[in-house]
Symmetry: D2
């Protein structure tokens, strides 16, 4: 399956950066779930560019729901969310039709689509396509909240600056969902923003790492093979543009520990089984254990930079140089945050519907 | 889909650690591919325990092909590979029926399967189930080699000891595929083995990180959404027991770089486009660019340790302690290596068949 | 998977009869295929109501392509086709919110969606949703024609009137694709139209059987299990509203034959193997044999009739009667024809892409 | 997906007629379901040849469960059922390696697998492969019965002889499940058996039509698109060898009715909604309505006949004749019956698990 992901609850995305419309079809969500258009709009706002930290492209990103919602609630049939592209300046991209931008998908798109791809603004590879995922994800996030399941993501690190660790997950998630630049520590936030602005002044860009927590998930969700919770989350996370690493719990660090320090010992609390630590990020054998699900995602620096770079002219196969004009983000990690939350919500709705049936989310 | 993975080329696995048989059904591979039973046997050997570094359980791991191969070649219909379990000592596991082992899937299995799971030796969650993947993977690895595609994995780090970096990928892959403990640097290898033995003496265990390279892949393979090459590889990698992190190219490190240092500039060589560096691990926009595909996998320390641990008795819900007896591995990272190679080969066969048709692998 | 069908080439549909928009996302088609908007429009025209034989609802059915086509050709990424609903009169349907119409999906929709379904005009169950399939199918039909593969469907029988049998398939298909009421025999056509008008005058409706031929398909396409060509065609055919039967070749009649009269003997012609008869409809063991693929589809009479019917008021659970007002078709079999062609084309594009790779259709 | 069918509950089949083993992997069934090996054996018996009506090949068809069952109950992980092939006489088939048998898949297998297929006894195309489906289906049938869902199939017609119609479904299903030649009317049964024996004496074969009823299914199961209950049943039914037609309710006959005679009017009984007739076979809009699900399947005559037939020698491409030796069935319709029941049960378990969650079948 290509642009469709999920089994019981599935999302299909479409569109190109400079095309007519982008959007998503969200299928299989239980009937009777409230759809809050204001919440969708506020999630779209989080994905947008923040002041000088982001591209000068300004899209209204107005989401229009054209199917699947009736009297403010999901019908159970496909929910289609469309967003018109308005602020497109395709002339900025003329040269890019044949000069592959380093770090971008231009060259691989050419190899796969043989020149028929819509190259303008990255076409279907553009981060802009995530707007459809955020719109669909907003519906999913809201549905999960009604079931007591909350997702929050902060910028774990950016340009060498680290946010504080999660302390109280419930409070931290709450805080994060009210921030447009998702950093828990005020100083770290300011420092990161300065680093981003500095990179911009240098005609350069930065990346960052995001850390996500999910609370309220029941235990027993996921499969031992091949649809472990890690597998299905990683599958969709790695399809978010610029993501190059995913780790659960202590992730790469757990590989350097001893069994005695990596294992999460059990204790009993009010008749339920808990772990004293959470090195495994709430997942054992691919299945949730009722503890918070924790993971980190590595986002590479925006490949579009103003600095001159070496490349190859695909028409002549001659080496040449390229200076990317147009409007770019000096960082996207702060914008990727809401995308991570959205795809996480979509995957969890699917897993929960598979486990408990198609109506569970609305019960 | 649960125990089946892949679309055009798919693998289905089955079995429990102490059950009658384990195995795999490999479906969709092109007809006419040579199946080399000696090669399968040698791959099974790599997965096995190495001397004192591993569990005392000794399985012949004889692979019997019961369908899909005729006159030494694939028929194009399902190849079924079965392996009998012989050296099972289920009495060792009596207590584990109700005392959840920290770091293991016992508790999550209980939450998902309500006590009906075969708990003996970890049942269907056991690393033993990977034997079926290795058997099926051997067929896939061999098919890829005929097409000039080679996969090699080394232990990047274990217990704080680091192997040398890849130098010449072709030579290094060749070397690795002849080693039963896959470390390129002889000193690093000895040091790692000592650390593992030491952990064993301490009743403890260690993890490690594996680094994999794939050479010879054509460009243009993979999808922008949702089946990026990173996504489909990560999906199956995260279903390998104990894997808690996956990163491509520079992975988590690329997140701390600048665009100008993370981008891979292009140059032209003999009429083909190459990159000067490979920070993106051979994948851009989810699609191969013809450079080597590079990724790292974090393997957590074996959760079975002799040290006493705190847990909960699931019958009484009382806190208790547990000392795991039975036969365990003080490390599995060296055994996981061939599993990583195998699942990588299975995923690539699927992606290549989707791209070029069902017969391509045998052409 | 719910509203998505296909593997390498997949279609996703959305919309409700009286909603804002309906449409389809066609994913995975090879890049570089010509997209002819006039041909799409002409196919939409075939699906529309024909004079007095059909519903009085008049929709422009203007198809807008909002993604996946660039410079008149497919890009290889999702093609989104949207159609606005304009001529909706939802007040006609007030009573139907709680009075289940016999033969319709009202009651089953209620059982599945618990009252949250958009009941207006049949909502997502409406035959109107097939407009998206026809739009997407037009792109597929055109792609197949470029490869020498042609599809044609005629009304085999309607209201007791039978069309003549296929004689010369190439010519007959050509003829059929120029007719808006797809009957090869002029007398049969007139008689059928009279029967439909008569049924309308009686406040009643009729059904009919469609017969489809596909020529130009290569041999060797399809699977022995479970994706036989019969299976994948039947899967999508049975999801077309009102279809209650599908048969290939001689179908139900072959069941009454002897082996000696049912088998298709082989002969050799210009170095290729042909069959003297085609009782098996071009498919043996689930796989095409190079002969024309032939199948028939049973379409039930339109369930919306003016005659008073017995039903149950779902609010009060009391028995009651119902006289359906609104605008209905006295027959849909002539309109279903282009839907059958469309879904056939979508399935064949998928099967061909799976067999020969993603680029084959554009080569 | 090729040899795997289903989503939440999936079956994978493997094997060749004259290979080592055939079998099935049944994945996703709820944990805690009783597995009755005697019932499996009795279902295997039904699939076997009946006296002189069937092939002289005699297989013990002993089913060995090698995974997924623990203490007599399903574990929730893959259930693997294997059956050894014992009575194979491959020398009978020498000539068939290159002379395509009319009506068989020999020629299409050659076109698809290029000569690498295991041609002995039809290889993977053989009806023998259904033994795995029957073994897996037996587990599913038993699980459904515990939930009050019963399936029964009779030979509707064979060689021009018709069985009586269903009268009392509960009783008739009960009766059918105790018969090895599934005909309700004793006279019809005897006449059919005589016709089959006569065909055998003539070196010929006959086909037949099967009619299936399912009672006890809840309403609200299935999807409007594309996974209608008709679609998913037809998909797997058309992959059963020799099936050339499938119809639901009145099927092809409903196409000749008027809306007023085809619609099933509603009435209310003990607070639930029923239909007075069942022309739609218990399915409206692709979704069950709580009435019995009814369908008919057309089974073509066994293509293996003793009569001499014309064919082409695939080595020389010269026309030639063929007289099939070996052991064949003069009819398979009576043996196909239990296959139909089995695949029906597998599909229903999947649909129910998707609707109500993975544990529902065992609750």
């Amino acid at each position: 399956m290509k642009n469709t992901f999920g089994s019981s609850v599935a999302v299909t995305i479409f569109g190109e950066s400079h095309g007519n419309m982008i959007g998503a079809v969200l299928d299989g969500l239980a009937p009777g779930i409230d759809v809050d258009e204001n919440f969708i709009a506020s999630q779209m706002e989080l994905r947008k560019s923040v002041g000088s930290l982001s591209t000068a492209r300004r899209e209204a990103d107005e989401v229009k729901i054209v199917s699947g919602v009736f009297n403010g609630k999901t019908t159970g049939t496909p929910i289609t969310l469309i967003i018109e592209n308005k602020d497109t300046r395709s002339k900025d991209y003329g040269e890019l039709a044949y000069k592959a931008r380093p770090g971008h998908a231009d060259y691989t798109a050419q190899m796969k689509y043989h020149g028929f791809q819509d190259f303008r603004g990255g076409g279907h590879f553009s981060g802009r396509i995530t707007a459809g995922l955020v719109a669909a994800g907003a519906v999913a996030i809201n549905a999960l909240r009604k079931k007591g399941i909350y997702i929050g993501t902060h910028i774990f690190s950016c340009a060498g600056v680290f946010d504080r660790d999660f302390i109280n997950l419930k409070d931290d998630i709450n805080t994060l969902n009210s921030l447009d630049f998702a950093v828990l520590d005020e100083n770290a936030k300011n420092e990161m923003m300065q680093k981003i602005e500095q990179a911009k002044r240098n005609g350069d860009s930065v990346g960052g790492r995001l850390e996500t927590a999910v609370i309220g998930l029941p235990s027993g969700v996921g499969e031992p093979w091949f649809d472990t919770i890690e597998s299905v989350l990683a599958h969709i996370l790695f399809s978010v543009p610029a993501v190059k690493g995913v780790e659960f719990g202590d992730g790469f660090e757990i590989a350097e520990k001893y069994g005695s320090t990596a294992n999460d010992e059990y204790y009993s609390e009010n008749g339920s089984v808990c772990t004293k630590t959470n090195h495994n990020g709430g997942i054992l054998g691919g299945i949730t254990n009722g503890m918070p699900v924790l993971f980190r995602t590595a986002v590479k620096p925006t490949p579009s930079i103003y600095k001159e770079q070496n490349t190859v002219d695909l028409n002549t196969m001659q080496e040449t140089t390229l200076q990317i004009k147009g409007r770019h983000d000096p960082a996207i990690v702060h914008r990727a945050r809401v995308v991570i939350d959205s795809v996480t919500a979509l995957v969890l709705c699917d897993q929960l519907a598979l486990r408990y049936g198609t109506d569970w989310l609305a019960e």
